[in-house]
Structure formats: C-alpha cells, structure tokens
C-alpha cells in the first residue's frame, strides 16, 4: 500500500519474495527453510531399498558396457505382455586368476518374455546355449513382496537362485534372502530423518561357513546423494552424486578392500539430454569409459559403448541398436 509500510516491513523476512525475478527460484528454498521447523518425526518417508542405496551412483558410473554388436528388439503385444529378441556378437570377458584378461568370442541369440503387471512381474530370458534367466516379483500384500531371481543352466551345479522377501513399513524396510548353496541374508534400513537413513545387513554362507555383517548410511537431498557402506568382509564403499541441473549430474565413487588392499576410485558424469543420454567415467585403474544412447526416432535407440583400459592395454568398443520400448 503505502511506501512507508513496505519500508517498515523490509527488515524482517517477508513471506513474499522481494523481487519478481528471484520469485521463480526462491519458493523451493522457502519450503526448505520452513521444513526444519515442521519436521514430522513420526511420519518420515520410506527409505529406498537396501540394495538400491547406491542406485544413483551405480546408474551413472556403471552403465552396461559391452564389446561387439548388440541388437535388441522388443515387441509389445499388449500393455503388459511383450516379447524380446536380442542378438549379441562380440567378445565376453572370462574372469581369470592372472592379471591377463581372457576374451572369448561369443555370439548368441536371446529370447525373452516379459509380463509386467502392477502386482506381478515375470521376466524370463533364454539363451541359445540353454541358460535361463528368470525374475519374478510378486506383491503378496500391500507391504510384502516376494522376489525370485534365478539363473538356470544345463550344466549341473552351476545354477543359482535367490528368494527375497521384502517387507515395507512406514519408515523402514526389511528384507530376508534365501539363496542356493545355503545362503541366508537379511537387511534392514530405517529413516532417521527426512534426509538420512541408516541400514544394516547380515549374511551367512552355509557351505563355506562364512558370515558377514555390514552397515550403510545414505544422506540425500533434492540435489545430492551421499552414501557410505562398511562390511565385515573388509569393504568400505563411499559414493557421492551431485545433481548440477535437470540434465547433468556428476558422480564419484570410492571403494577400498582391506583384504586385498585394493583401492578404486572413479569419477563420472551423466548427461540426460532430450535426444540422448551420455555417461562417462574415469577410473583410478586407468580406465576411461563412455556410453551413449541416442534416440534416433520413436522407439529406436542407437548405442555406442567404449571402454579403454590403459593399464592393461585393453580396448573395447561396441555399437548396437535397441528397437522398441
């Protein structure tokens, strides 16, 4: 109204922003200022599942790099049901004891069927050599979920399976796992504050009589996610992801293995643009990698993957196309 009223009101922070230009940027900040006073400690948000605690860092730093040709075709018959055909021709790395990398040229065709329902998800993939990858996720009740993950092969004693029972509470999640080779595991994660959640896990391997316990913490805001994990197997893993803008985020990761005295740290970026998604990373092992997914048309994606390991002199380049959603 009068200019004298506005002068008197200027010193205490007014609820309305001082200038129109800043008004677009300020409202979220004001919500954050109001938040510490209004935290409802009995109504904290549900934390992310324990295995996804480093989800943002893994998505940015560990894309599915490959070497060779990859072609994926997904055909939807229904809103929920789809079939997928996938061809891969290239080299796959065989893990070996020595520091040399063993590459085996492989070519396979993979047929897959997916059924995705809000309550039931069935994903199956079968390869030309007879291996089956099966994933089942079933919501038994609103809060209890059963997940089954299995890799079945024709060779005896090489198959693996894992049953997970997840229970989701108001501000906690807990999971119980049973796997083959008498593997039992459990984990629990709890929200301590709107931004901080702490979790713990234990596991027991029956056949090797090994057990372990680990702790994890995750602190996230809208702009950043910081996680830390410590395990009795001697592994310390830290990660930090900062979202610079809607399109760009930077991630860094640090892993220390006490038993093998192995330290790895990596730094990566993730650009999500309108037509493409570019992820790249640089490693302390001398590895530089990049992964590009470019959208050529509706449902047609072109993929380029590159991984250059300067220390081992191992150069991997791959290209491919993905057709279908």
């Amino acid at each position: 109204m009068g200019s004298s009223v506005s002068h008197a009101a200027a010193p205490p922070p007014p609820p309305s922003p001082p200038a129109v230009g800043l008004a677009v940027a300020l409202p979220p900040k004001q919500d954050e200022k109001a938040e510490p006073k209004n935290v409802d400690w009995l109504n904290l948000p549900c934390p992310v599942p324990f295995e996804e605690i480093q989800r943002e860092a893994l998505m940015s730093l560990k894309p599915e790099l490959f070497e060779g040709l990859r072609f994926d075709f997904t055909k939807g018959l229904n809103q929920r049901f789809s079939l997928s055909h996938s061809i891969f021709m290239g080299s796959m790395e065989v893990p070996s004891q020595s520091s040399d990398t063993f590459k085996v040229p492989t070519a396979h065709y993979e047929f897959g069927a997916n059924f995705l329902d809000p309550k039931l998800m069935l994903v199956g993939r079968v390869l030309t050599d007879g291996r089956l990858n099966a994933r089942v996720k079933c919501d038994l009740t609103d809060n209890l979920t059963l997940k089954i993950n299995a890799q079945l092969t024709n060779e005896p004693h090489f198959s693996q399976g894992m049953f997970n029972f997840d229970y989701k509470g108001t501000d906690y999640r807990t999971q119980f796992q049973i796997g083959n080779n008498a593997f039992y595991g459990a984990n629990y994660i709890q929200s301590i504050s709107p931004h901080l959640s702490l979790g713990t896990e234990i596991f027991w391997l029956g056949h090797q009589r090994k057990s372990g316990i680990g702790f994890a913490a995750r602190y996230n805001t809208d702009k950043m996610v910081a996680t830390g994990q410590v395990a009795s197997t001697g592994i310390v893993a830290l990660s930090y992801v900062q979202k610079i803008s809607e399109k760009v985020s930077l991630a860094s990761d640090f892993m220390y293995n006490h038993l093998t005295q192995d330290v790895t740290s990596s730094f990566g970026y993730d650009y999500i643009l309108r037509q493409c998604r570019l992820r790249g990373k640089l490693d302390s092992n001398g590895v530089v990698a990049a992964f590009l997914e470019e959208r050529l048309n509706m449902g047609v994606n072109f993929i380029l993957s590159a991984e250059v390991d300067h220390r081992k002199k191992d150069y991997k380049f791959g290209f491919g196309m993905t057709v279908g959603e």
Partner: protein, 73 residues
C-alpha cells in the same frame, strides 16, 4: 591306558552312532526327497518358465492374437 581310553571312546561312539542312526535316517530321507524335489523343480522351471509367461500374457486383457507371437510387426 591309552588303548583303554580309546576303547571307551569307541564304545561311546558306537552307542551314539546307533541312536543317531535312526534319527539321521529320517533326516537322510527328508534330505533325499527334498534334493529330488529341487532337481525336478529345477527341470520344470527350466523348461516351463517361458511358456508359463507366454500363456499368462496371452490370456491377459486385451487378448493379443496368436499370429502376433511370431510376426515381427
């Protein structure tokens, strides 16, 4: 003396093994059956999982046509 102790130990072990034999035979039976069941379940899952998904998918609404399974369009 050492042989007496060892005989005593063997005797005890003999008695213990008799008692545990009956208990362990039941446990062995259960273990054998469960191993047999797991093997059969593995074979059934290996061959039947993908057909199961296809059957469930073809019966979901809206029902897709049979030719759509094979045609690339």
């Amino acid at each position: 003396m050492a042989s007496k102790a060892s005989l005593k130990g063997k005797g005890k072990a003999g008695k213990g093994s008799k008692a545990s034999e009956e208990g362990s035979s039941a446990a062995k039976c259960v273990k054998e059956w469960s191993t047999w069941a797991m093997k059969k379940a593995k074979v059934i899952t290996h061959y039947g999982f993908i057909p199961l998904i296809i059957v469930i998918g073809m019966n979901s609404e809206p029902k897709p046509q049979l030719y759509q399974l094979l045609s690339p369009v």
